[in-house]
Assembly symmetry: C2
Homo-oligomer: 450 residues x 2
């Protein structure tokens, strides 16, 4: 069913108020597809559609709505519908939603839940948004190391309704410390009577709940895992991160880095639905900051006003030379930022990368110096050609080295390397370029500085 047909069917369901219509629709369409078109309905309409949806599918469907919308809808649901919804949601999504609610709504919600759920929400909701704990689920399957493979499968079958995945199960000791993992594949492939403790994977890969959340997705990608166990400070198993949540985390982290490199502060959520106010606030900070950065370039130019007046032809080459340093720097910075985000390059690699950058930038500068000296000769004679060529060579190397090193420097001081945005590098390289250019000109053309 395409999006148009789906919207039409949902409209029909709204008019008929028939639960059978929605039940039929949830059988025919994937909740991700229904969730994707729901944003074209009003909050009240969505709440009504949800209350028409069968209980099990309701929570699934709700999970596919944009996070901002979820919090808007909660006040429109009655107490009973809200309790049912929370009961059937995945534990990680439930905790995220809980965090999004205003305090008064949180108070309204807690009494309708069972004690176990209340504690679960409180525990998961306590983790900071950028930590593994905030994306983990507490619904994992445990199996007993002393049981047989056949019994293990039976255990998983029984646990299935309350677990995020039955493809990976965990073995814990009496203190709930993680001692091993076993996959459903292992269980199916093993002899029926084999004892789980004998063939489970000991010392499995795991992550701490307070590690940065991207560590979980890096580990899942590296070891091709379906789920990664999460432990607390005392090495006790507290949850799992599943591959699908890891994919979402990886995509969100890439988006955040992408925006930072474009000098936009972090935006939570979808850009299409972002308000004008939000977009303004996320962009204005860097723009204004960079203006002040550019004042240095302006001051550099002002200092060399006499040089410029004596050789007005020099101004022609100003944007070209100065921008080339910024461009080479932007290239070097984006390469490093991404390489550090994926874990390809670490702080300790700085010296090695610097050596390489010097050679590459030297060659790039040489190529561009040759190109630009022809232009310099044609517009201003041999002396201008020399000034322009030398400046280009130095500017490209300086810009590249700054662009390459800034992400390392930020990382060294525990800041995000992605803050080394293209516009920031451009501004710094510009100021350096102006000084290098006019210093060269003053020196070679032999002009007294005012």
């Amino acid at each position: 069913m395409n999006a148009q047909d789906l919207i039409f069917s949902l409209r029909t369901a709204l008019l008929s108020k028939d639960k059978e219509d929605m039940a039929h629709l949830t059988r025919r369409c994937h909740p991700a597809d229904i969730g994707a078109v729901l944003s074209s309905f009003t909050v009240e309409q969505i709440a009504q559609l949800l209350s028409l949806t069968p209980v099990e599918e309701r929570a699934q469907l709700f999970g596919y709505l944009p996070k901002e919308l979820e919090a808007d809808i909660v006040p429109s649901l009655d107490k009973k519908a809200l309790g049912e919804l929370f009961l059937h949601m995945a534990s990680d999504e439930r905790a995220d939603l809980f965090n999004l609610l205003p305090e008064e709504q949180q108070g309204r919600l807690l009494p309708v839940l069972a004690k176990a759920e209340r504690e679960d929400i409180r525990k998961l909701a306590a983790y900071e948004e950028d930590k593994v704990g905030s994306v983990m689920s507490s619904e994992y399957a445990l199996v007993d190391a002393k049981r047989t493979a056949k019994e293990g499968i039976a255990q998983l079958r029984k646990a299935a309704p309350d677990t995020e995945t039955i493809y990976q199960a965990y073995v814990v000791d009496s203190e709930r410390r993680l001692v091993g993992t076993v996959s459903l594949k292992d269980l199916i492939m093993a002899n029926e009577d084999a004892i789980i403790g004998d063939f489970m994977t000991r010392d499995p890969v795991y992550v701490k709940a307070d590690a940065p959340r991207e560590v979980a997705s890096q580990l899942i990608a590296k070891y091709d895992l379906i789920a990664l166990p999460v432990t607390n400070g005392g090495d006790k198993l507290v949850g799992i991160v599943t591959y699908d949540d890891a994919m979402d985390v990886a995509a969100e982290e890439a988006t955040t880095d992408f925006r930072k490199v474009g000098a936009v502060s972090e935006i939570v959520g979808n850009i299409k639905d972002a308000s004008i106010n939000l977009l303004y606030r996320k962009r204005v900070f860097w723009l204004v900051l960079l203006v002040f950065g550019n004042i240095f370039s302006g001051a550099g130019i002002a200092y060399f006003e006499d040089t410029i007046e004596a050789y007005i032809a020099l101004v022609f080459f100003l944007p070209l030379l100065v921008d080339s340093g910024g461009n080479a720097g932007s290239q070097a910075a984006t390469l490093m930022v991404r390489a550090m985000a994926t874990g390809e390059v670490m702080i300790k690699d700085w010296a090695k990368m610097l050596g390489k950058e010097f050679i590459v930038a030297g060659l790039l500068g040489l190529t561009m110096a040759l190109a630009v000296s022809t232009l310099g000769f044609w517009r201003g004679g041999p002396e201008i050609a020399l000034v322009v060529a030398l400046t280009m060579q130095i500017v490209v190397v300086v810009g590249s080295v700054i662009g390459m090193s800034l992400p390392f420097l930020l990382s060294r001081f525990k800041l995000d390397p992605a803050a080394a945005s293209a516009p920031l590098i451009t501004s710094i390289a510009d100021a350096c370029g102006v000084i290098i250019y006019f210093a060269m000109a003053t020196w070679i053309l032999d002009i007294p500085v005012g």
Copy 2:
């Protein structure tokens, strides 16, 4: 075992030449960890370590080596070891490696393989690198719709050694057209005697083999799939893409877009190991191209030389005004490029996004015009303040609209929106900025243009 210990153990295994040492090591360590440290050995040493590794683990270990290294190692393996290796590799990795080999090596390899494997490689290797076909695997599990759940599990168990995953199985008709999917969870949860055809998922989500490969990872992320079936032109099932390959594709696509936004052409593989020659080639193209772009800015400045000579103070504000347009444009471009890559924004959204961008950029420009007019008043009096403020307002709006629209324009002409790099936007915005600035100055300050 940490990396240092692992390297030490591998050195020991090299010296002892004892197969038992390597067998022990592969039982204790994850192949991803061994693969990660192997790059600190020479090609000959790696080949030797591989030949000491038990056959099954050898292919696994080989799969975790960097792609470039894989092709280097093949010539060092003898015919028998090579044949064994290929036999145990996953079909998609096998085809990728085959494509990397020089023709003479390909000829050496084909005779040692069975006919079925030869055809499989030829088929998979025929897909272009950026298509779904190039990341799919031909090793999927089929089940019979007429069998019971219990029989289905037995079928999966038997097929397991030759499939990438047993968690998702496929049902095809006599023409091998995809008619349904069933997960191992469905099979385990169903009644033992339930007929698969009665509870399988009909009309499953699928992808065409010639679709761009990022479509597969977008679908897997959207529908939280473990594996996505791939069909050819005739709707026949030809392979599957698994979630772990989809994660790698998503990460690679993000890296490529990231580099493009930094004006670096696509680099295949790891940046740390990239040669100087490669890095030079991938960066020089854009740098030189942008130089020519900047000539427009230079020409603009040259045209207004008289204005500059009359009001040399104007040069102070040149970098500041011109860069602000570029910065606002870079912000708008990176927001759009990423939103288009994740499918958040499509070509049809252009008009809507443009309207919003006008308002946001208008507000940003206003803020910055106010900030900069103070500076203009202080350095040059009320007239300069007016010129600078008006220019800032226009430059920020023009830069933002260009930066926001260019990714759409590129996409409209079937080009990659990520080519709208920050440096490219900066160059275009610079040229516009120079003209706007001096046109404003000439007009307001009433200077005759030479």
